[in-house]
């Protein structure tokens, strides 16, 4: 199969079209939605680039905290983690829990909204 242009390149091309051709010709609600669409494509591009490493690191931490099976999917591990927090087996005092959730959330916000003010607070 071919990948020229790659998914990232296609996404970037559509973003270029929105930013340089479409958005300047729009007003009001449509102009607002063009800005949202451009930002959404920027998230798509970051997700393609950053998710594989971020998810691998998340998975390694989840396996360590839960003493989990390598057979389990990352989604199942997160479900297990949530259930144990809900049951009170894991709390904010549990060594490693808060730092794991912070690392996972930092990686997520870097993809979703890298200019969000709370991200800077978390890194300081």
């Amino acid at each position: 199969m071919h990948d020229q242009p790659s998914v990232s390149e296609l996404g970037q091309a559509v973003k270029n079209f929105i930013d340089e051709s479409a958005a300047p010709n729009l007003t009001g609600r449509a102009a607002f939605h063009a800005r949202v669409a451009s930002n959404a494509l920027a998230t798509v591009l970051r997700d393609l680039d950053q998710r594989p490493d971020a998810e691998a690191a998340e998975r390694a931490r989840l396996l360590a905290i839960l003493d989990g099976s390598n057979e389990a999917s990352t989604g199942a591990l997160n479900r297990d983690l949530s259930a144990r927090i809900q049951a009170g087996d894991l709390t904010a005092e549990t060594p490693g829990l808060l730092s794991h959730l912070k690392a996972t959330t930092l990686a997520q916000v870097e993809i979703d909204q890298p200019r969000y003010s709370g991200l800077k607070t978390a890194k300081d």
Binding site: V36, L81, S82, I85, L98, D112, T121, A122
Partner: protein, 338 residues
């Protein structure tokens, strides 16, 4: 339903009825000249109406038809009643000129005075025109909140629901569980909030959405408190903390109050007027609840896209803002365990 839509009729019908309302409210020499739908307010329509040196704001249900699905909102006639009660308590609000009657033919809604100013956070937080306003806005908000919380509870519209902190946790937890998507940060925040809930203060009228975007600000500061549709009976600290939620600081994180002011200034004005002794530490728990609520509200808005109810890119993209509230919750949990 189709009958009601037909009654609302065409644009020219709307204009004729608006003209009749305008003359009825402002006198027979007042004639409608212009009307314009204002942006913002997805759940309600807001129209600016001008003519004969008179201006007013019409707030009405979309297409004139009240939507039973937006059950958190109290309904427009109740909202008008609340604004009038707030005005009597000294809160800066628009003056209600007329609650729409069926004979007006415009659906559910009310007409109120136009108050000039700015509601959008970005210019309020950045423009020189609001530099003086920013200096005094925190204490003005403290005083206005004390006045809102002083409103006598007897005689308020019966639509108001009572909802304290734990009730809100239960309500939002049920919504979150309904999505069946595990978010361990929300899970931890839910359990932490339940384990650390403060003893409730006496029940007051809570505005429920007191933040930039819902406040009319002019060069001298707070001109009017708008959008009372999320009002309920509850805890005074909820309103103070909602204004402190990082999402409502619009990037100006160092200013805990709305991105423009300091909490000590707000609380000094609030405590002096209310006679309460609310401390900055009292606000922490409520601020965490506020971030959690906003995160779950973002999930609700994304759900409208996921289910196909609203196919807009805006509704899709807001699902990728949930993580903003997750990092805020992490920051608050870290601070609580520092």
């Amino acid at each position: 339903m189709s009958l009601i839509v037909a009654k609302m009729g065409s644009n020219s019908d709307f204009e004729t009825r608006l003209g009749a309302l305008f003359t009825d409210v402002f006198g027979e020499n007042a004639a409608l000249e212009r009307f314009q739908r204002l942006s913002g307010g997805a759940s309600q329509e807001t129209w600016r109406i001008d003519g004969s040196d008179k201006s007013a704001i019409l707030r009405r249900a979309p297409g004139g038809v009240s939507d039973a699905r937006s059950s958190a909102a109290i309904g427009l006639p109740a909202e008008a009643g609340l604004i009038q009660a707030a005005e009597r308590a000294g809160v800066p609000v628009p003056h209600v000129l007329r609650v729409l009657a069926p004979s007006d033919g415009l659906g559910d809604g009310f007409l109120m005075t136009l108050i000039e100013g700015e509601t959008i956070a970005r210019p309020i937080l950045r423009d020189d025109a609001f530099a003086e306003a920013r200096q005094i806005l925190a204490s003005q908000c403290g005083a206005a909140l004390a006045d809102i919380h002083s409103v006598a509870l007897d005689g308020l519209p019966p639509e108001l629901q009572e909802s304290d902190g734990l009730a809100q946790i239960a309500q939002y937890e049920e919504i979150y569980r309904g999505f069946d998507v595990p978010r361990p940060v929300f899970e931890l925040a839910l359990q932490w909030l339940k384990a650390n809930a403060p003893a409730p203060l006496d029940t007051v009228l809570v505005h429920g959405d007191f933040r930039l975007g819902k406040l009319m600000i002019d060069a001298t500061g707070l001109a009017a408190v708008l959008d009372w549709e999320l009002a309920h009976l509850g805890e005074p600290r909820e309103d103070i903390a909602w204004l402190c939620v990082n999402s409502w600081r619009f990037g100006q994180t160092h200013n805990r109050v709305g991105g423009f002011g300091q909490l000590d200034d707000l609380l000094a004005a609030y405590n002096e007027k209310s006679g309460l002794k609310v401390s900055a530490r009292d606000i922490d728990w409520w601020e965490m609840l506020g971030s959690l609520k906003w995160g779950i509200m973002c999930m609700i808005m994304y759900e409208a896209f996921r289910t196909g109810a609203d196919p807009s890119v805006e509704r899709a993209a807001i699902g990728r803002r949930v993580s903003e509230t997750e990092i805020d919750l992490i920051n608050l949990l870290e601070a609580a365990h520092a």
